[in-house]
Symmetry: C2
Subunit: 399 residues, 2 copies
């Protein structure tokens, strides 16, 4: 085992050469392509080739901040393990891990250069008609196979111990459930919506609901979550979809992954009045609404189909999985609301809203994101699929 060192391009190339057993006759070149907040990412390939390898290395601190914010390198182990586990049950939609080196906190991943980041595609109004349904199937498969439907008590407890991820999930707790709902210096609130943020911080009923969602996030270990499933963690290509970046994963409520994805589609939805004419914007909003329906529909159908084969005599009771999925839906709406709010006034924003140049239009979109997020949290118990549809149709008409 080699000792940990921070990789340069040449190290990434040597790592690829060693793992892939490429002789000296193969020329390789590399570049650092990381645009995330946490890690370094290299792309290594032969000159002139469009396809190569990805080398991802965890640094002992948060990349975008520096050595002043140390962060466990063990996240690389957790991410590699989660991707491998998810890849076993959903290889079609999980980025392939070709090698993992624990001492160097480095992993070799398949190159998805023929894919693009879904968020970017959505921002360019590029349609991937199968993406939402593929994502629903992915979530159903990775959640189901790590749940009590599939694992007996001991296997699930062992998985919960293997995938314990306290350091990164504590960050999720802080940045999604704590900071955005009160004054905190880490928050990033634009001056034009300061008033709405302060109203939200004073909303005691809302904060009680958020406390419940936070508490459930920590204590409801239903399935091995991706943990950060926004549209920037999804790579798409015609007919294809791969999920990447699982370092925030661990056991938690299934509704969290579903809700975070709902929220990111809804943040794009809310950004449309700032990006397009009314007619075009409304048409794109309809697409987002259809994607949310397709995502939930395929998640539900696939999960129910899998649960029909559960070996657990109690959970296999006809009707139970449907009852559970109603709760997952309610949880998802609550988590979607938290994610929408934190991406609007918390530390980490999304390009969908922040990319709107005109500050007045941007603020109007941000206000809609805060209002819709609050409603999802407050009304999660009442909003079934039809009611959510209606709520979003009203938002489209009103925008």
């Amino acid at each position: 085992m080699s000792e940990y060192r921070i990789y340069q391009v040449k190290d990434a190339i040597a790592y690829v050469r060693a793992v892939e057993k490429l002789g000296d006759e193969v020329t390789l070149q590399g570049e650092e392509i990381g645009d995330g907040n946490l890690n370094q990412v290299f792309r290594v390939c032969s000159p002139g080739e469009s396809h190569g390898f990805i080398v991802k290395q965890a640094l002992p601190y948060i990349r975008c901040i520096g050595e002043s914010w140390p962060l466990t390198r063990d996240r690389a182990r957790i991410e590699a393990q989660i991707l491998l586990r998810h890849g076993e049950v959903c290889p079609a939609h999980t980025v392939a891990v070709r090698h993992y080196d624990p001492a160097l906190s480095v992993m070799l991943l398949e190159d998805l250069s023929d894919h693009r980041v879904w968020r970017q595609a959505l921002l360019e109004d590029q349609i991937f008609p199968e993406a939402a349904a593929q994502l629903g199937r992915y979530l159903a498969r990775v959640h189901y196979h790590s749940s009590a439907f599939h694992l007996d008590y001991q296997a699930q407890q062992a998985a919960m111990a293997d995938f314990a991820n306290p350091e990164l999930m504590a960050i999720t707790e802080a940045v999604i459930f704590v900071d955005p709902f009160r004054y905190h210096e880490r928050n990033n609130v634009e001056p034009l919506i300061r008033h709405e943020a302060e109203q939200l911080w004073a909303d005691a009923e809302l904060k009680i609901k958020v406390a419940r969602l936070k508490h459930d996030f920590r204590t409801k270990g239903e399935a091995l979550l991706h943990g950060d499933l926004h549209t920037g963690s999804v790579m798409v290509a015609p007919g294809k979809l791969k999920v990447i970046d699982a370092e925030f994963g661990g056991y938690g409520p299934m509704g969290f992954d579903v809700g975070v994805m709902f929220a990111n589609l809804l943040l794009n939805f809310c950004s449309q009045p700032g990006r397009h004419s009314t007619i075009t914007g409304q048409r794109v909003q309809q697409l987002r609404l259809e994607e949310i329906r397709a995502l939930w529909g395929s998640f539900r159908d696939e999960f129910v189909a899998l649960a029909a084969h559960s070996a657990d005599p109690a959970l296999a009771e006809p009707g139970y999985v449907q009852a559970l999925l109603r709760q997952v839906w309610r949880d998802a709406l609550g988590y979607a609301g938290c994610e929408m709010i934190r991406r609007t006034i918390g530390i980490a924003h999304v390009a969908d809203l922040d990319g709107i140049d005109d500050p007045i239009r941007r603020a109007a979109c941000q206000r809609q994101a805060l209002a819709l997020g609050s409603r999802l949290i407050m009304e999660a118990e009442q909003l079934n699929g039809t009611a959510l549809d209606l709520l979003l149709q009203q938002a489209i008409a009103g925008g």
Copy 2:
């Protein structure tokens, strides 16, 4: 470290002598007093003295069955750890662990010979007026200090890993949530109530609710539970109460401990028409009802008082702890229902019901336990404290 061996009386005496540093001038004698299903228990004291020490050793199999059902000795470590942890935050009501030897799976406990088992006291109509409130305070203190209100993410995750108890909690799953709700050879159903058991096994709605409770038991890691808090795990003396036997403990829903205790008081409640004249039986039933009120009232008040000091900025939101406790109450009713049913038709019964000699009267009491248990499961969402009171008052009048 010594190698594991099954203790004889002389080993228990030598262990006490070594741990307590008692010289040869102190004469000690011992006897095996275990009446539980799992372990051996010795009482060691000087001749003529009423107070000594308890030595408890885990065997590598289930004591009452034998070597054909092996069971991890690691349960002794888990039990000792849980008792020590609970003892730190509620020394008044947790049996004291004086020493633990991991190699021998043996622990030295304080002798509670001046106490008696609460179940036995209840069966003899002996009243300990403070017991229920003491138990409520105990539960609030041990649950609170292991919960997200008191521990940050990393500390709680570390505790969840330390206290993972898959082997014994899988037994709980099977004997409480699975077997009693379907035909299983492990069940113990008396012929006179066979019909009622079969009706219950055919009740699809009930079984969906039980599936939810089972699923929550495994996935809802709210607090470090005792895990088997029936009236036989509680020792009482005038003004004093100590909880023993924590080997089934681990992280789970707080309502489980509360509900199991509710159920054991209610099983005694249901047994009264089989034990006493109508007037006397009704008077004793009122006592059980008051104990349930006192248990919940002190649990709630103590938990709310503790939560006022929570360092968690989200969970400390005024009103959240009350909302959480409403859910704990609902969970508790559901778990109480499961416990009542499993103690009536599952593998392990209680003396309260089984000790009724007349088979016709016994069957009538068992039927009431099944009916009340089913109602608690089915109506947990609707029954607030007043409604439960009313339901039990009706049961008293009807008995």
